[in-house]
């Protein structure tokens, strides 16, 4: 595998502690439907630092994909709309930039890998051509050079016989190969941020392991940050540096990966971790389960959205939305009224703490 030769832009040092690459602040994305307005993403803030892997975790309908699409400017209009907030890339608010400036960032500095590579690739063009087109659209190179690079990229993501494969169509590729081709396309312009939306969900577990390795390899080689969107807490544990947990359109917890798994503070995070089946755990008589289903996002009440399913909910939770509050360290925040209480962890003690706090407040 020969390394891809291409111009390296000036970028900051690959130190996750310095500066941020992308700042999402108070992002609200809504969809107008016949039934009413769906608040898919509701005042969500987070940032992505250079070179890190940030995981956004949540169940279907929690707003994780809509967050990614909002960043990429792919919210379909007029059905969908970003009604407030900002998405700043290296300090520039993409929602307020001129179209041309925006285009220089999206697709170039920020690239995306989708869940279903078959629908994301064009079935009537050769795989190599599709990657070459992308390079031609964004870089001043010859057609021949663009093709040469696309073959190199396919090699880089571990596609055997890349020259031959580049001349084939997407339907000739297996699911894993297609996802590799998608990654090759995403890294073609050497982006600083790669958004991967459930990149391994449609794949078998042995192929998932291959693709995750490719993602980590390209990050190692090119130093890009990865925003990984997934519902799989196992995948997150293996690859993420920091984790944002979303529920019903809200960010409900954020922490570095070890803190989130070792000392989670939101009852929803407890529920997710508790109800996950684990290959390293002998059978339990009963799995911990979260009762009910996620709420509708049509006009959600100004209350904790998890309260109806929460074992620790108090009247306070149904009255007032719990803003994010720092817990244990400043890097760890949770949106639960009780998250900052001493000894707040799953179990009977939490029930007592919550009811005591409720009395103190009311």
């Amino acid at each position: 595998m020969s390394p891809v030769t291409r111009e390296r832009d000036s970028r900051g040092p690959r130190d996750p502690a310095t500066g941020t690459l992308l700042e999402v602040e108070d992002l609200t994305t809504i969809f107008h439907t016949e039934a009413g307005t769906v608040h898919a993403v509701d005042r969500v803030s987070f940032d992505v630092r250079p070179g890190e892997v940030l995981a956004i975790v949540g169940e279907s309908g929690c707003g994780k994909t809509v967050t990614a699409l909002s960043i990429m400017g792919l919210i379909p209009r007029p059905a969908g709309e970003i009604t407030s907030g900002s998405i700043r890339y290296r300090g520039k608010d993409m929602l307020r930039l001129h179209k041309d400036e925006r285009r220089a960032i999206r697709g170039d500095r920020i690239a995306m890998v989708f869940q279903d590579p078959l629908t994301a690739l064009n079935p009537v063009h050769k795989v190599g051509t599709q990657i070459a087109e992308l390079i031609l659209a964004h870089r001043d190179v010859s057609r021949k050079e663009a093709w040469r690079r696309s073959v190199e990229l396919l090699k880089l993501v571990g596609i055997p016989n890349a020259e031959e494969r580049a001349r084939q169509y997407p339907h000739h590729f297996s699911g894993g190969m297609r996802q590799r081709a998608m990654i090759a396309m995403a890294i073609a312009l050497d982006p600083e941020l790669l958004i991967a939306d459930e990149p391994t969900t449609a794949l078998d577990v042995t192929v998932q392991a291959q693709i995750l390795r490719v993602l980590l390899d390209v990050r190692e080689r090119f130093g890009m940050a990865i925003m990984l969107i997934t519902h799989d807490l196992g995948v997150v544990a293996g690859v993420a540096d920091r984790v944002v947990v979303m529920y019903a359109g809200k960010k409900i917890e954020e922490a570095d990966v070890h803190t989130l798994y070792g000392n989670p503070k939101h009852p929803y995070t407890w529920g997710l971790l508790g109800s996950t089946t684990r290959v390293d755990r002998p059978r339990l008589e009963q799995l911990a389960q979260i009762p009910g289903a996620p709420p509708s996002l049509l006009s959600p009440p100004p209350a904790c959205r998890f309260a109806p399913r929460c074992a620790y909910a108090q009247p306070l939770c149904r009255r007032e939305y719990p803003e994010l509050r720092p817990v244990s360290s400043t890097e760890h925040v949770a949106a639960c009224h009780f998250a900052d209480l001493d000894g707040w962890e799953p179990g009977l003690q939490a029930k007592e703490l919550a009811s005591r706090q409720e009395e103190a407040v009311s």
Binding site: A209, L233, A237, S275, T277, R281, R283, R309
Partner: protein, 343 residues
């Protein structure tokens, strides 16, 4: 540990076999030509597998897409006719059963499907969906309303919602409807084909708990098909691993996870991520190269050899049989050796 403790309490009953599968083969022909049709090949979907399922247990069937899991399920229920081999239910050969005999035996076997959206008729009410098996079999008593209500209650649905249509329910609730339908005839065997794969994590646990409770209460036997090894560890008593139409390893659940001996099982176990960052980053990972080969021309000898990290010349020449190689359970590898992959 409902099933495990029950098994210990009544050993003589749990030893009884409910299902015995012997040398089961299913080849789907590939034909060419319109006027003169001729067979030019075959998809070797299931290629000579044997296993048994004991009464009251759950046999987990794992493998990647294309390994033949779903075809096996369909053969078991005789939704497909096998090319050769036998499936016996309580000693009765169902592969040769026909007419009323087949109808009788089919009451004993039901299926829960993967997709709770596609497996329910959108134009039928819940009452009709759940009551249909009862009606078909003339086991419909007094309009059946009580029977349907009882079934719905049993799976955690509100019986007052019986006149609603599937689209009024969430994914998890729909899966409960599918389970109620499977339960209606009080079958002996339920084949669960990826019953929780389409569900969210928080709902998945509800359905897995429900299936465990129903098994205990109705003395059910499950064949549980899944590509997710973590789910299978929670539900199965024994596990069979399939690869390209063959069973490559079969054994007791904990034994198979703690000390898998077939390289494919080892790769599968090591590829399932553990939701614990410290453990997950420290453990050994076996990353297989390539994809599962085409079942039209499966590799000679051992079918896994093209992706195997232990493959030698003998693997191409000689097909390893599924026999106990001194590890306490059968495996189909010339170089089978236990490996601990879960910290």
């Amino acid at each position: 540990m409902s099933v495990a403790t029950e098994a210990a309490a009544v050993p003589q009953r749990s030893r009884q076999e409910l299902v015995r599968v012997t040398d089961l083969v299913k080849h789907f022909p590939i034909t060419r030509g319109v006027i003169i049709r001729q067979q030019v090949g075959a998809v070797h979907a299931v290629d000579g597998i044997s296993f048994t399922i004991r009464k009251g247990e759950t046999l987990g069937l794992v493998g990647e897409s294309g390994s033949g899991k779903s075809t096996t399920a369909r053969l078991l229920l005789r939704l497909l006719d096998p090319t050769s081999g036998q499936v016996e239910l309580e000693g009765q050969d169902i592969t040769t059963a026909a007419g009323s005999q087949l109808r009788e035996v089919r009451q004993e076997m039901q299926m829960i499907f993967q997709d709770p959206y596609a497996s329910l008729d959108p134009r039928m009410t819940v009452r009709d969906i759940v009551g249909e098996p009862l009606m078909v079999w003339n086991r419909w008593r007094n309009g059946g309303a009580m029977q349907v209500a009882e079934l719905l209650e049993r799976v955690g649905l509100n019986p007052d919602h019986a006149s609603r249509f599937p689209h009024e329910f969430s994914g998890g609730q729909r899966q409960r409807i599918g389970i109620a339908r499977a339960l209606a005839l009080r079958p002996k065997l339920i084949v669960c084909d990826e019953p929780v794969s389409a569900l969210d994590v928080s709902v998945r646990a509800q359905i897995l708990n429900l299936l465990a409770n129903l098994q205990r209460d109705f003395d059910l036997t499950y064949l549980f098909i899944s590509h997710d090894l973590s789910v299978v560890r929670q539900v199965a008593d024994r596990v069979a691993v399939m690869y390209l139409g063959k069973v490559v390893e079969i054994g007791d659940r904990d034994e198979l996870y703690r000390r898998p001996v077939h390289p494919y099982t080892q790769a599968l176990v090591s590829a399932v991520p553990i939701p614990d960052p410290t453990k997950e980053r420290k453990r050994e990972h076996i990353v297989l190269g390539g994809d599962i080969p085409s079942p039209v021309n499966p590799p000679s000898g051992c079918r896994f050899r093209t992706r195997c990290f232990k493959a030698q010349d003998v693997c191409a020449e000689q097909e390893p049989e599924l026999v106990d190689r001194g590890h306490g359970h059968p495996s189909a590898c010339h170089f089978a050796e236990p490996m601990e992959l879960i910290p």
